[in-house]
Amino acid sequence: MKFGVIIFPGSNCDHDAYHVISKHVGQPVDFIWHRDTNLSSYDAVILPGGFSYGDYLRAGALARFSPVMASVKRFAESGRFVLGICNGFQILCEAGLLPGALIRNRDLHFICDHINVKVETTDTPFTNELKRASVLSIPIAHAEGNYVCDDETHRELVGEDRIVFRYCDERGRVTTESNPNGSRDSIAGICNRARNVLGLMPHPERACEDLLGSADGRDIFRSLAATLAAHA
């Protein structure tokens, strides 16, 4: 199994993602420059956090036009796995690989904090090693993490069990107070209909070592590795 971490101009969590895959998942991983278009040797690609193209126009809007993105679209359509973290989630929404959009946080501030998310479904390749309704402590760092979508999309997400993570308090209660950015229905992460593309605003790659305050993010990457191992 092989992982790829895509680097856009302005990505800044690429090394964290690489470190997690190589050290904690223990699998081969490459960096992929955004001008490369050959993804044939990979089983999963990660679109990391950062500020691709300086967040100009809208967060993720210009990265969508990077040459690699047409390949990412085909990669996803072929059933292989795509994980978008923070800016990666914004790019996947702009590219139409996930529905909805991420707009400015309700209270305008850039929020850099440890928050809690509830695992809402384990029926994804990214969460199948987790326990449903368990609470993960994972950091967020964003100014545009306020998830919006229309009513029909929201009905679909709920009906198809595609809301993967919701912001919650430390006891797993989803409340207005535990929603840091105003996201609709406290949505922190969603998957596509085929369930092979996940986007989330929190940074699990920054929560993989106790030294960093939490290792709760590790199981997301390990779930994906377990899925790939089962596929092999």
Binding site: R58, P99, G100, I103, R104, C149
Partner: protein
Amino acid sequence: MKAKVYVTLKAGVLDPQGKAIHHSVGLLGFGGIQDVRQGKYFEISLDGTLAAHEAEEAATKLAREVLSNPVIEDYRVEIEA
């Protein structure tokens, strides 16, 4: 030839920046301001050899596919000779 493109948030999409501006102008004593919605404005220079309808098509395509996000925004295009 110039195209002017206005990108605005769809009605119903929360505009935290507009809200903050509205709040501040209230504090500054501006009266009669009911609401503020923030948007984006683009000036695009187009090839002078294009016919007016071609220029409008080119600018509209750009507005639809790049400058706006259809999930949250609307756009309006004006062509100026």
